[in-house]
């Protein structure tokens, strides 16, 4: 629900899809989780639609189809990015690209016997 001039209105389906795409582009997980809740509520609400409302929903679905295509492509790109990032992190855990020798954090003293703390 959005408030326009003090009155509440139901956003068009298209607005929902566009907002989801934008939130995904920004990686706004919180907003996307809210939208997922909205979509579940929408899905439940659609079950009891009257004939007229159903026709209106069909019109909105037509209007949102191109934006849905964009959303799908952003989602596909995100999946690819996620895969790349997973690989990057995987590799970084095993040492940096240029590190010929393992340069991860090294303890100040290797032997336990001489630092007096063990």
């Amino acid at each position: 629900m959005q408030t326009v001039g003090g009155q509440q209105r139901n956003p068009e389906l298209r607005e929902l899809v566009v907002e989801a795409s934008l939130a995904l582009a920004r990686l706004d997980a919180e907003r996307l989780e809210e939208l997922a809740v909205c979509c579940r509520a929408l899905n439940r609400g659609l079950a009891g639609l009257s004939g007229e409302d159903r026709a209106e929903f069909q019109r909105q679905a037509h209007g949102a189809s191109r934006d849905m295509e964009v959303f799908g492509r952003v989602l596909a790109a995100t999946e690819a990015h996620l895969e790349v990032m997973n690989r990057v992190h995987e590799r970084m855990r095993g040492g940096l690209e240029y590190a010929g020798r393992r340069t991860a954090w090294v303890p100040w003293s290797r032997t336990e016997k001489c630092d007096g703390n063990h």
Partner: protein, 477 residues
């Protein structure tokens, strides 16, 4: 050397290393707002162990330099996405400008390309009006007037589209200097990096090279290949080398068939660039694919209308009782429009030839001046498939719809690609830019966003597919 000095050495070494590490952190903070700067982390190297009173001890660590936190796979992917987004962005700008030409402007009194649809209707309506009173001079004058408007709008549209093509050509040609400057800079940085840091990250030099690569990605489609000693080769998407080691191979231009072509050495890489990406790719795609299609459609429209109307007018008898070349080949031509010599160039050359309204052959062959049979036939051409298998109005309306569909498609592509670049940029920033947040947080955010978006998409996709295909919504369980 089992002495107390060894122990002091161990501690002071550690302190020195810590001090060096702190200077790297300071550098990171100082450069937080420097464009393209990549966060550095200190490299620690274990010192050889020493023996103190029979015990083997480590001598701590030495700070041996810094490594920039960058990942070439990620930056290369970002560059690729930028190439695609830049290409669709520049193509979209060009297409939007073309589409604007064909958008009807109801508020305008002057004739324009957007009015071609109503011009076609107006022309055939004026012929229909003449049917009722074929000898009426005002109605005959009206036919010539609407024909002139139609021909003028079509030829003007062709000229304006050609002007836009010339502007794109100039824009594309102007990018060569920028591309060459960047490839020269990358080649120079390659040389410096290979001589100073052949086996390690080159820090600031690498940052500069990455920045140049990013700028180059905005301009052209390219592939980058990592070579030995930390070098980088750059080639066009079809493999034409632009940079190899410390040498760059500049692009040159030349005019071929009236448009700018692009060369490396003697090889013409124009079509390679057009499909490769970057702004240059987008401009070339619009110049060499989209605009020629638009011009071809206008040519077909002009050719179809001119040829069919001229043939029909020549098949009738004018107000002076003279038949056209279709009735008597010895008679002068009664062509209304400038007769096209072929499809190509018809639109730009379209004009009205006759100035005397009496030369409209309203009557049928050998019929009296009051006859309207030839006018009826001419007016009837409005519904005949005289333009590439379609009626004139239908052809034009299909052309405008197809143009709108291409614009919509490229818009969709650009929106998705721009979003993808934004995402990747965020991830790259988290990983390699100066950022006090742990990149793990960014990674977690990416994962969470993807999962939530997948849920949103799955629900919406199911209910929308259901609504569109069946007209009946089915709830997702």
């Amino acid at each position: 050397m089992g002495t107390i000095s060894s122990a002091f050495s161990l501690i002071s070494g550690a302190l020195n290393a810590d001090q060096s590490a702190l200077s790297i952190v300071s550098s990171n903070v100082a450069n937080a707002n420097t464009p393209g700067y990549t966060r550095e982390i200190p490299n620690w190297q274990e010192n050889d162990p020493v023996s103190i009173n029979g015990l083997e001890c480590g001598t701590g660590v030495t700070q041996t330099g810094a490594t920039s936190v960058r990942d070439r796979i990620l930056t290369e992917r970002l560059n690729q996405q930028q190439q695609m987004a830049a290409a669709s962005g520049s193509r979209l700008a060009a297409l939007n400008a073309i589409q604007a030409l064909f958008t009807p402007d109801s508020g305008s009194t002057s004739s324009r390309a957007g009015d071609i649809g109503s011009d076609i209707t107006g022309f055939f309506n004026s012929l229909s009006a003449l049917e009722a009173n074929p000898t009426n001079n005002a109605l005959r004058q009206q036919v010539l007037s609407t024909a002139t408007t139609l021909a003028g709008d079509i030829s003007n549209a062709a000229r304006m589209v050609s002007t836009q093509r010339a502007a794109l050509d100039q824009e594309a040609a102007g990018m060569v200097a920028q591309v060459n400057a960047l490839t020269a800079s990358i080649a120079q940085l390659n040389g410096q990096i290979q001589s100073t840091s052949p086996g390690a990250d080159a820090g600031v030099l690498e940052d500069q090279r990455q920045q140049d690569l990013s700028k180059l990605s905005q301009l052209i489609g390219m592939n980058q290949i990592t070579t030995e000693n930390n070098g980088l080769s750059i080639a066009t998407t079809s493999g034409m080398t632009l940079v190899s080691g410390n040498s760059n191979y500049p692009m040159t231009t030349g005019v071929v068939n009236g448009v700018t072509h692009f060369f490396v050495g003697t090889t013409d890489i124009t079509s390679d660039l057009a499909s490769g990406g970057g702004s240059l790719g987008g401009y070339l795609a619009a110049r060499d694919q989209d605009i020629p299609q638009v011009l071809n459609s206008l040519d077909q429209l002009a050719y179809g209308i001119s040829t069919a109307i001229n043939a029909q007018n020549n098949a009738g008898t004018n107000l002076n009782g003279v038949g056209g070349t279709g009735v008597n080949p010895a008679n002068p031509s009664l062509d209304i429009f400038n007769p096209p010599v072929g499809v190509t160039g018809s639109a730009a050359a379209m004009s009205v030839l006759i100035t005397d309204p009496n030369n409209i052959a309203a009557a049928g062959p050998a019929a009296g001046s009051g006859d309207d049979s030839n006018t009826v036939a001419m007016a009837g051409l409005a519904d005949f498939a005289i333009v590439n298998g379609r009626s004139p109005s239908n052809f034009f309306s299909n052309f405008v719809t197809a143009l709108g569909a291409i614009v919509g498609e490229v818009q969709t592509e650009n929106t998705a690609q721009t979003a993808s670049v934004t995402q990747l940029q965020n991830q790259t920033n988290a990983l390699s830019a100066v950022n006090l947040n742990d990149e793990a947080v960014a990674m977690q955010q990416l994962q969470r966003s993807y999962q939530a978006a997948s849920q949103v998409f799955a629900i919406l996709n199911t209910i929308m597919t259901s609504a569109l295909n069946l007209g009946v919504q089915t709830a997702v369980s």
